[in-house]
Symmetry: C2
Subunit: 161 residues, 2 copies
């Protein structure tokens, strides 16, 4: 468990401050995020989609990448993540891959939708069969499709993750 001698509200203020900072400077939408470990901010991010032309540069992704760089690890064990808003499916997925101990979020999905950021459609698309999605997902096996997986299973020096 992430240890901290400050109340969660203290850290959340930092995430909200980053949301304002990035938005006012034109980096992207009004979203901020920090990662905390042992009373320290080890990663921070604000939405930078517009400034970097990177659709994956959501606050949580930026903060997770920053924190992992600080730790030299792709796992956020012992860390808490504070985000100014409930994560979208992409960021939720990233959180599961990074595995922090806990996630604190301020605004809800409904508040985000009210401000023009509606990710409900992605949640709905996730539940659809690949061929019924708005963006067509087309299965295309070729003879060598499974070769990388077979090689991986036989790779003697592989790192499981």
């Amino acid at each position: 468990m992430c240890t901290t001698n400050k109340p969660p509200e203290y850290w959340m203020k930092e995430a909200i401050a980053l949301a304002s900072y990035g938005m006012h400077r034109g980096y992207g939408g009004p979203f901020g995020c920090i990662v905390v470990k042992n009373n320290q901010i080890i990663g921070k991010g604000f939405n930078s989609v517009l400034a970097t032309n990177d659709p994956t540069a959501h606050a949580e992704i930026v903060a997770i990448r920053d924190a992992c760089k600080s730790l030299g690890s792709f796992q956020l064990t012992g860390c808490d993540l504070y985000t100014s808003c409930e994560p979208c499916p992409m960021c939720l997925g990233a959180i599961y891959w990074a595995r922090p101990d806990r996630v604190f979020y301020a605004c809800t999905k409904e508040q985000a939708a009210e401000a023009g950021f509606d990710d409900a459609f992605i949640y709905k698309e996730l539940d659809r069969a690949p061929n019924e999605r708005k963006i067509p997902f087309i299965p295309l096996q070729i003879p060598t499709s499974d070769k990388p997986f077979q090689d991986w299973k036989e790779k003697e020096d592989r790192t499981n993750y």
Copy 2:
């Protein structure tokens, strides 16, 4: 629609080749992805989680970021994405934010799971209420929570995206 004079199998071979390349060199798991526009590969990626200590460095995320850099845009209009395996929830979310025209995938989630890459648990977690997830998602409103959203709505020079 993305125009191409080569069959989809041609492009998929490239994605599979990247999966093998990255895996054999220890960058990460056996996953590769390319983005195609007007008969050209404008973005490529292989899983680089291990080499970069970045849990978000899945093949699709890397390829999307690369393609967006090439185009100078956070939207992949007119592009097709070819991935060696059905995307995880994080990458599926990223695909929706990037909005390529179509997605072609080779291996299925089931084949990935059989090779030790099981993201079914994330799909299940997405459907759970925040407080019932394996990683606790804790709502935490503070007095300034909604301020960035309010400011965004009033921002006169905002770019909607």
